[in-house]
Point group: C2
Chain length 347, copies 2
């Protein structure tokens, strides 16, 4: 089997790095203050096994019981736990195609069956999702919302309808949810409370500029959270430092939200500039754009030309994506450099 | 199924905590310096997926190739990865009985078969280990060395002989190896280099006073390390901060070694004092003692009486251990308090 291939992580600070969807701005000030407050003696003892203080805070913020929160060592851990805990080898995990390329790897590690459901020609959900899930006896469906790599957002009402008709577990990977336009008033938390089969994954990696910290959390009914919290999770899966910093991050939501607003503004600016270069993008509620490269241009060559000029974007060498680039929305300066280099190359 | 039950982790600093084998002294100074040097911007990007700098340093220290090192989010992660990667559900994991109570839980999560091989009447390995492993077609044997909860050390020569006769994978969980008397010159690294089926687990939790950090590593032949590094491991399993601090810890081996020497001195002092109270202990090369409580005393009651007096030790309510207490070697003061409270209770 093939493992997951993470995006390139070059060391050089000169690289304009628009390939792995990091937030271009630093984490909230309080996170660094929390880091400075850690003392050596704090590290000597085992951390809280379930990150109790974090659970309490996250429960308060999302309006759910702390027992509905599971802290994890990066969102990937929760995805793995979901498969380990709820999907037997004889059962089926469904994901959309294309989607986050880790999902098929996790299915292979778990040894379960994988159903990849193609997005339709408009890069949207097929009309007959409930029927597909029923006919294929799907045990778990993972949707990343906003979708990756398109950036498209499924409304909560659509998800509610889907979850109601679905006999399995609907996992909403909301890695990029912080970047959704607040005017859309997207809120999937009520689904967790109303239904027994919806679990939400959140991460601090993107919205809170803490990809280096590895901290995420699940929000779900206790029927889904409890078995992972008490049985399949590594005994101390999150460390003392990350628990403290994650709390400080969530307490700084307002400060982080200013970076989300900046990213949204840059996203729309970038769409306009790319359009000016003849490059179409899908509307995105995320911190990246999926850019369609004209058939006259070899997309892999364009990716390499950008890389040679110090700009790293993501090219997925797979059907439907081979003529597209996924471009992270960077800082204002990074975005300008991208446009400048693209203009150089294309002219 | 039942999950793993970690030892109690009370918040109160007044508790004399001798129940989960932490090092009583703070982590090396350089670890805190490394913590102070972390900047917010460092956390914005993903960490090195395989902790490359740590691997290089650990390889250098142990005299193996960096490719023979796997950094993990606490030793528990490596144990889980070993089962996921190498033991199929139809295959058998063997552990000694009694031993680290997490092993059976991991076997159950992995869904594989479990063979618990009783230690003999002297709490040592049975003579016919190779035959048992062969007859039961064992795929993986995990030995914790020094053993928990006895503290007994198996010499490297014994392990070499066992590994040579064993067709499966021998995992040496050396969580407590830092506390071995240097005069014994225990060194299992040559087994990794000589044989293809030995993998060593090390952790920074005990020897380096970093239980709160969650950082451990495997040392093994690339044939065993590579599949975990590239396939079954979560994509970014260790975070940026812990990678930096783990490096600083290993670089401070000499400073940490002074705490190991203090623990060894206290261990022997404690054995003597316990003997003076009529409590026998097995010789230990670890940072804990397994204390045998006289049949005239109910061990669970003694555990509770100590707890009421603010001293927490570990009592395992299981066959062969129900009349014993596992006592972590604490600071000089903690050890004195333990002896004082025990004397109070027993008189």
């Amino acid at each position: 089997m093939q493992g997951y291939t993470p995006g390139e992580q070059p060391d050089s600070p000169e690289i304009v790095k628009l390939n792995t969807n990091e937030n271009p701005y630093p984490p909230p000030t309080a996170v660094i203050e929390a880091l400075r407050a850690i003392e050596g003696a704090d590290l000597r003892r085992y951390p809280s096994p379930l990150a109790d203080d974090f659970r309490t805070l996250a429960g308060l913020i999302h309006g759910v019981d702390p027992e509905s929160i599971l802290a994890v060592n990066g969102g990937d851990e929760l995805l793995r736990l979901l498969l380990t805990t709820f999907v037997e080898p004889s059962e089926t995990l469904a994901v959309m195609q294309p989607s986050y390329s880790l999902y098929p790897v996790l299915a292979e590690v778990a040894g379960c069956k994988l159903l990849e459901i193609p997005l339709n020609g408009a890069w949207e959900m097929p009309d007959d999702m409930p029927a597909i899930l029923r006919e294929q006896a799907v045990k778990m469906l993972i949707l990343v919302n906003p979708h990756a790599p398109t950036g498209g957002l499924l409304p909560a009402d659509y998800l509610r309808g889907l979850a109601r008709e679905f006999k399995g577990i609907l996992v909403l990977d909301e890695a990029y949810a912080d970047f959704i336009d607040p005017e859309l008033a997207y809120d999937s938390i009520p689904l967790v409370c109303e239904l027994g089969n919806v679990l939400i994954l959140r991460t601090l990696s993107k919205g809170y500029s803490l990809a280096g910290l590895r901290f995420g959390y699940g929000i779900g009914p206790t029927g889904l959270i409890h078995p992972m919290a008490t049985k399949t999770r590594d005994s101390y899966n999150t460390d003392h430092i990350s628990q403290k910093l994650a709390r400080a991050a969530l307490e700084s939501r307002d400060e982080a939200a200013k970076t989300w607003e900046r990213v949204r503004r840059s996203r729309e600016w970038l769409r306009g500039e790319l359009a000016g270069l003849g490059i179409d993008t899908l509307p995105s509620q995320s911190n990246f754009l999926l850019a369609e490269i004209s058939a006259a241009i070899d997309t892999a060559d364009l990716y390499l030309a950008l890389k040679e000029r110090g700009v790293l974007v993501r090219h997925f060498d797979q059907p439907r994506l081979d003529n597209r680039l996924r471009i992270t929305v960077g800082s204002e300066t990074d975005n300008e450099i991208l446009i400048e280099k693209l203009r150089d190359i294309l002219q």
